[in-house]
Symmetry: C2
Subunit: 329 residues, 2 copies
């Protein structure tokens, strides 16, 4: 029998195309700075033709988190759909190269593997446009009940909610996890994603999610509150642990009546914020699956996030354990 996994992620299987540009590019093309916008294949072609030279790297929110967890030493799995094409090969190679179990069968025909066109401005903010391609073909059949039932935590990205079939897969997985006495974690992904799916997110969180990740804007959008405190009041009692990232102000972790404030880890120069939230979740879940105190989970999250802030792309470029150890003396 295979070793049960610590965390299984379910999300969009995406290759990022990262390019830098001045702020004028954002203004000129009327892009929504700092957010993620869904685009179709024609829009993707049009935007790509205007972007500067790029670098391609595996991405996808939950996939980034799982890759981070695996480099920290966790036995992890990922479920997400690529096409049997060159970018699909890249995605599969990169996630399995860090030891993640990844067995979702690829599509044998169109649509192609998903790609996210990312424009990074000099302030290190990333503006993302995603063509979901093969990703949205993920369905309930791709959910392996044995894997989900055996894993300590099933980690779901909010972005999956954007397509009915993937949403169904998402719900199937959450149900299996809960029925097996396992934990379910959810990341809210993006403020517009929250706006699109507010009601069904709230329905899911109320009693079906154990660990919730998000940032301040997403939490306020979710509960339609002015302040983060009010959002905390709304979610308290519905969800066991809530971890909220606040950029350079670190994170806030709520567990029932208790709130922990965790500082951000210092970074010499922030190059690209892509994946910072994803890696925060990786560090956090790494601590949690090892029974660490929540404040320590937050500290590990801050450190893992700091690493991906120092370079382009959302996957760690060095041994995360060494990175954390060097900053924990």
């Amino acid at each position: 029998m295979p070793t049960p996994l610590t965390v299984v992620g379910i999300g969009n299987a995406i290759v990022d195309v990262i390019s830098h540009a001045e702020d004028a590019f954002i203004t000129q093309h009327k892009l929504n700075k700092g957010t993620m916008t869904l685009i179709d294949s024609d829009q993707a072609r049009a935007l790509y033709s205007k972007m500067g030279p790029g670098i391609e790297m595996s991405g996808g929110s939950a996939a980034n988190t799982i890759a981070g967890l695996a480099t920290l030493g966790g036995q992890c799995g990922f479920i997400g759909k690529v096409c049997d094409d060159e970018l699909g090969d890249v995605f599969r190679h990169d996630i399995t190269a860090v030891g993640v179990k990844y067995a979702t069968p690829p599509l044998n025909e169109d649509p192609p593997t998903a790609r996210c066109l990312i424009v990074v401005t000099p302030d290190a903010q990333r503006t993302m446009h995603t063509y979901l391609g093969a990703s949205v073909e993920l369905g309930p059949d791709d959910i392996d009940a044995d894997i989900i039932g055996g894993a300590q935590i099933t980690y779901l990205e909010g972005y999956l909610w954007d397509r009915p079939k993937a949403k169904e897969a998402f719900r199937t997985a959450a149900t299996i996890a809960r029925e097996s006495g396992r934990k379910v974690a959810l990341t809210l992904s993006d403020v517009f994603c929250v706006e699109r799916h507010r009601d069904s997110f709230r329905e899911l969180i109320d009693g079906h999610v154990d660990i919730l990740f998000g940032n301040e804007d997403e939490m306020r959008a979710l509960y339609q509150t002015e302040t983060l405190e009010d959002a905390f009041s709304a979610v308290r009692g519905e969800c066991g642990i809530v971890a909220i990232t606040r950029s350079e102000r670190g994170s806030l972790i709520m567990e029932g009546p208790t709130l922990y404030e965790v500082p951000a880890a210092p970074v010499d120069r922030i190059v690209d914020t892509t994946g910072a939230g994803d890696l925060y979740a990786a560090g956090f879940l790494h601590g949690l699956t090892r029974g660490k105190h929540l404040a320590e989970c937050g500290r590990l999250g801050s450190l893992a996030a700091a690493e991906v802030l120092t370079h382009y792309g959302a996957r760690p470029e060095c041994d995360l354990n060494e990175w954390i150890a060097a900053r924990s003396a």
Copy 2:
């Protein structure tokens, strides 16, 4: 009538897959550190499956030089073959995004676009394994006589010599350029490439090449001499300008009896040496096409090379003119 180009490059159209590894990886897989080895598609698959997570970026030696020249403001062209596939799109996008004229029609069927698997070790050395794929389908029909005849300099990479059809394209282009009273530049590419093609390289250089680029090992291998000085003696009279890069010791430029010694540009931390020689040639040719003194051409070469040493990949990540200006005060 279109504006004549300053430099047209002819070379392999390649996407690099860059991954880092400890020296143990090089030893374990018996790789030839610091060199370029040609591999077939099965070997590429086998090596890729052992490599860690990668980043994909456009590459190719002459293509890197031309992309560098274009970011410096030159009106440049590139001739090289991709397949009509995803990596081919990446290559085409990246080179045209910096303003390079690139009109070589892609293959519509296999082999796929060429890729170079690059392992970067902690000492910043890169070890390259290239699957040439569609690149080797470049032939004399792809050589546009008007473009070559109109460009100030036709720049050829030695790697093209590895396949008869591409070599024929190479010779066709050199003949057109010479007959139009234009200059021909050649880069030796790699010491093993020189070993493979010593006689035909020497035949070409003797009277058909105006500007020769290489490093010390390549020059000594080409003329089978113990010292670089002896190699210079051998080439003197056969080729107008010879520019030899010497890593941290900068470069030596020979023109007839005169030798210029140019220091390397200082770099805080060398991350990856991939493309340093290619960008040296870009800076050098940028100076040359603007009528600069050879010592100044060398200085521009050193500065352009320094930029790509500071990050992964062989294409500049910032505005090279700004980079050079900031270091020329």
